[in-house]
């Protein structure tokens, strides 16, 4: 009866243990050193090597549901870009993008960067025609920015009137539309380098593009944000590093549970074979 009770309660026991291994490290503020992976370092190094005054486009292609994974990445990358002498344009292929862009800009230290001169938020891209068209003329497809300011009055747009001069586009992609649009219309046609910030689930699907050199790097989930914090030497700016201990503990727990489950399964199978004999 006990084994049946445990079997029926298995999911609840799993959930309880998982809840504990996540909550305790978060509440205790335990911090773990995070080794930097190659996919993250490639993105960082690419940005570091960009000449001064280069144009970088950040595309916020995620919604509120994937904020835990992609928002920390957006914060650290934007902070990195704002510490370098670069120009930044903010776009979004998802409707939540503009609001999340504002949230990121509110949470970083902008230093001496000025809106309109060093960066601008253009807002939501409604269709592929806009994505393609802005490579030749931004002002035609974005006559105003998110604050209804005419884009032809913005210095950064005067300096870069066409997106084809972009030195890097980095899309924080939770799904579609996302990376494929930039690969198809910007990278394949105009050779604009593309990088992607992805969720853990989507990352395996982007690996073929990384391995073939079509994208310069991948930021995988919150872990990449923690790694990036280490690279830019601003631990905790996005809240990712403190979460790594919880993430590690949950991974270890899953491994232990799977091993335990298999040991129990093999023991049951052996018992039933012996009973059959």
């Amino acid at each position: 009866m006990m084994s049946r009770l445990i079997k029926g309660s298995e999911p609840r026991i799993i959930y309880l243990l998982l809840g504990l291994v996540i909550t305790v490290p978060v509440l205790s503020h335990a911090v773990l050193p995070v080794p930097v992976t190659k996919t993250t370092r490639d993105v960082y190094d690419f940005i570091e090597r960009l000449p001064a005054d280069s144009l970088v486009v950040l595309s916020f292609d995620y919604s509120t549901s994937t904020v835990p994974e992609l928002h920390p990445q957006a914060i650290v990358v934007t902070q990195h870009l704002f510490t370098r002498p670069l120009k930044v344009l903010f776009l979004a292929q998802w409707t939540d993008g503009p609001a999340l862009t504002d949230a990121v800009l509110d949470s970083i230290d902008k230093g001496d960067k000025r809106y309109g001169v060093d960066y601008a938020t253009l807002g939501y891209i409604p269709n592929t025609a806009t994505l393609i068209g802005m490579t030749t003329d931004i002002r035609q497809f974005f006559p105003v920015d998110t604050m209804a300011t005419p884009t032809d009055t913005l210095s950064v747009i005067k300096q870069y009137p066409a997106a084809k001069e972009t030195s890097l586009v980095l899309t924080f992609a939770a799904g579609e539309p996302g990376l494929s649009a930039y690969l198809q219309y910007w990278q394949a046609r105009l050779n604009i380098p593309v990088a992607v910030g992805s969720t853990a689930i989507s990352a395996p699907g982007f690996m073929p593009f990384y391995n073939s050199g079509q994208i310069v790097g991948i930021l995988i989930s919150m872990r990449a944000a923690a790694e990036y914090e280490t690279l830019i030497n601003q631990i905790g700016i996005s809240g990712a590093t403190p979460a790594m201990m919880a993430q590690s503990m949950s991974h270890i727990l899953i491994v232990i549970m799977v091993v335990f489950g298999n040991v129990a399964y093999l023991a049951r199978r052996r018992q039933s074979k012996e009973a059959a004999k």
């Binding site: 549901s65 994937t66 395996p204």
Partner: protein, 278 residues
């Protein structure tokens, strides 16, 4: 390699006549793609014709074959069948394939007087499914089983949709949960809720990120192209069955190209990869 062809149709003579010419060029980097597409399409059609003439047998997909049994089980238990065509737009191939499957499921449910509940995340898909399900029940003479609650629009937001579907599954307790189409992260939540409440679960998507979750939670999963060929398995139409063979011809071409390219590249010859970049 770019090719420009200028075809002058009417040479200009005076102010009254303007020269009319067509300027077109073959898109850079897509010529090999176009050639390959034509070869693959030809192979698909040829294979389909041969299969249709020779009435070839296909291997069958066990889950598809059990679909009718599961619907009959729902009828015996007087429990509904639950269907979600995913969170994709009506223009995505996965959603279209799901709608093709819904057509069959709606007809069977209507014939067996089983209540069908459909949950949608896209308002355009909602219109199509509403029409489809209502027509199915009307044609089967079971119009009284259809109500405005049968086909619902939940939400366009991914996790609001997931939460709504999970709630529906827990309240309606269907005998069969079918979720095929374009899914993102919400798939696992729907699958887990369905696993607790439904007796049988049938899933399918071509999104490789979500396939592992489908495999772990469903009694049967349509993987990738099986989703697009499912309709062929469900009908007795020889044309539909023969169309199952077509993509296999395309796959053979792809395999041969990959093998040839890999072999040549191993010996330092970049012929195939250069050709594919044309």
């Amino acid at each position: 390699m770019q090719q420009s062809i200028r075809n002058i149709l009417n040479p200009s003579t005076d102010n009254c006549k303007k020269s009319a010419y067509v300027m077109f060029e073959l898109a850079k980097g897509r010529m090999a793609q176009a050639l390959l597409l034509m070869i693959v399409l030809t192979a698909i059609f040829a294979a389909s014709r041969i299969a249709s003439k020779r009435k070839l047998k296909t291997r069958g997909i066990p889950g598809i074959e059990r679909l009718d049994k599961w619907i009959k089980q729902a009828a015996d238990l007087n429990r509904p069948v639950f269907f979600t065509p995913g969170t994709g737009a009506v223009t995505t191939p996965d959603t279209l394939a799901a709608l093709a499957l819904l057509d069959h499921v709606a007809k069977r449910c209507a014939e067996l007087s089983v209540r069908l509940i459909v949950a949608n995340a896209d308002f355009n898909v909602h219109q199509v499914t509403e029409d489809m399900v209502r027509n199915a029940y009307d044609k089967a003479g079971n119009g009284q089983l259809y109500s405005s609650d049968s086909v619902r629009y939940i939400s366009g937001r991914q996790f609001a949709f997931a939460a709504g579907v999970m709630g529906l599954l827990r309240r309606e307790k269907p005998a069969l949960n079918i979720f095929v189409g374009d899914y993102q992260a919400e798939a696992l939540e729907i699958a887990e809720a369905g696993r607790d409440e439904a007796i049988a679960q049938f899933g399918g998507t071509s999104n490789v990120d979500q396939l592992p979750f489908f495999m772990a939670t469903c009694d049967h999963t349509l993987i990738g192209e099986e989703l697009y060929t499912a309709q062929g398995y469900l009908t007795d139409d020889p044309h539909a069955i023969s169309s199952l063979v077509g993509p296999d011809a395309g796959k053979i071409i792809a395999i041969l190209l990959i093998l040839a390219g890999a072999l040549l590249a191993s010996f330092g010859n970049q012929l195939i990869s250069t050709f594919l970049k044309l």
